[in-house]
Symmetry: C2
Subunit: 213 residues, 2 copies
């Protein structure tokens, strides 16, 4: 396989979608699927599916397609989610609360290992959805990250606090940040950042439907 540098980010994004679709097929006891059958429900062409997978090796069988029970685990391995990864959640406001209780992460190989907040009034409170967990102070971050070898963090603090919180996370050893604050984070190039700005998403929709009746 190739843990290549030349893989388009868009291709990796699609890998996640293939995995999602694959889980669906597996749940329906499907043994094999063709690139077309895999891509169609996702709105992705068969050629695109094959090219994307080809970046990482040859998983298919000519004339047959891909074995569902093989490709799924293979994709998880490529994405690095074949083993459950602990994730820290920083910020327990509205959004943080929802993310802590969200049960979509677990199924995909992520586990919220601990929750942090800078507000002393929140520290010590229990965390709905994560049994026996309590909100911890930011100062506990380095210890938890080191002890549990945490690589990923979810950042759900207000915009004004985001950059400082991100720096604290990086200093604690976090290597990838999923950022929900509407700001661009500036961190070392070797730290991965993915940002989700909900208002930006709505603006994209607003633009797309503008000019219609």
């Amino acid at each position: 396989m190739a843990r290549a540098e030349n893989v388009p980010a868009a291709a990796v994004q699609r890998l996640s979608l293939y995995l999602r679709q694959l889980d669906f097929f597996q749940a329906h006891n499907r043994r094999t699927i063709s690139s077309r059958q895999l891509g169609d429900p996702l709105g992705i062409s068969d050629a695109q599916v094959r090219k994307d997978l080809a970046h990482f090796g040859q998983f298919g069988q000519a004339g047959v397609g891909y074995r569902v029970s093989e490709l799924g685990p293979r994709l998880r391995q490529i994405l690095g989610t074949d083993k459950t990864a602990p994730v820290v959640l920083v910020g327990f406001g509205n959004l943080g609360r929802a993310l802590g209780a969200y049960h979509g992460f677990d199924k995909r190989g992520f586990e919220v290992a601990a929750v942090f907040d800078a507000d002393p009034k929140k520290v010590g409170q229990s965390v709905p959805g994560i049994e026996s967990a309590r909100i911890r102070p930011m100062s506990d971050l380095p210890k938890v990250v080191a002890e549990r070898d945490v690589r990923l963090g979810i950042l759900a603090v207000p915009a004004t606090a985001a950059q400082a919180a991100a720096e604290t996370m990086v200093a604690a050893g976090i290597r990838g940040i999923l950022n929900f604050a509407p700001v661009t984070l500036h961190v070392d190039a070797d730290v991965a950042v993915a940002s989700v700005d909900l208002a930006v998403q709505l603006e994209q929709l607003s633009f797309q439907i503008a000019g219609q009746a």
Copy 2:
């Protein structure tokens, strides 16, 4: 100006970022900014900024740059967020509750006008964060959409209920859906869909940091 078809989706996405940055500069009483000053904090090249804006007209002044107080409103107009737009929220689970109480939409020209849920036990409950609002049954959707001329909807229901809920929304008149369920929605081509799959985002980060120490 050109409400052109040839505008790359990526360019529109960046428009949102420019607007965000512009708001920041305005808050700091900046009068004019160059394409470089606008792009740098976002990690976007000056040429890219100019090209993106050029899709919609000529807003700059050679030798000076862009007038902050002009460009902001102009971008809002292009994105269709110059007037506050009502948005319906469908699904009041963990995520829906957070989104309803999220105060990041308001500042960007969106207002959660009403909240819906299919669960009869939830219908009638009050909505924290939106005063005097109560959760409504899905059957109220068409009426509310028509009365308030709602175009956009946020979909925050479980994966298994998402497609059906989306269809209900489209039938009620919704033209754009911000989808948080981890499934690909199949709707008419003239309905815009933006999807945010939180697990997918974490997988992207996981991939990026894989292979590091």
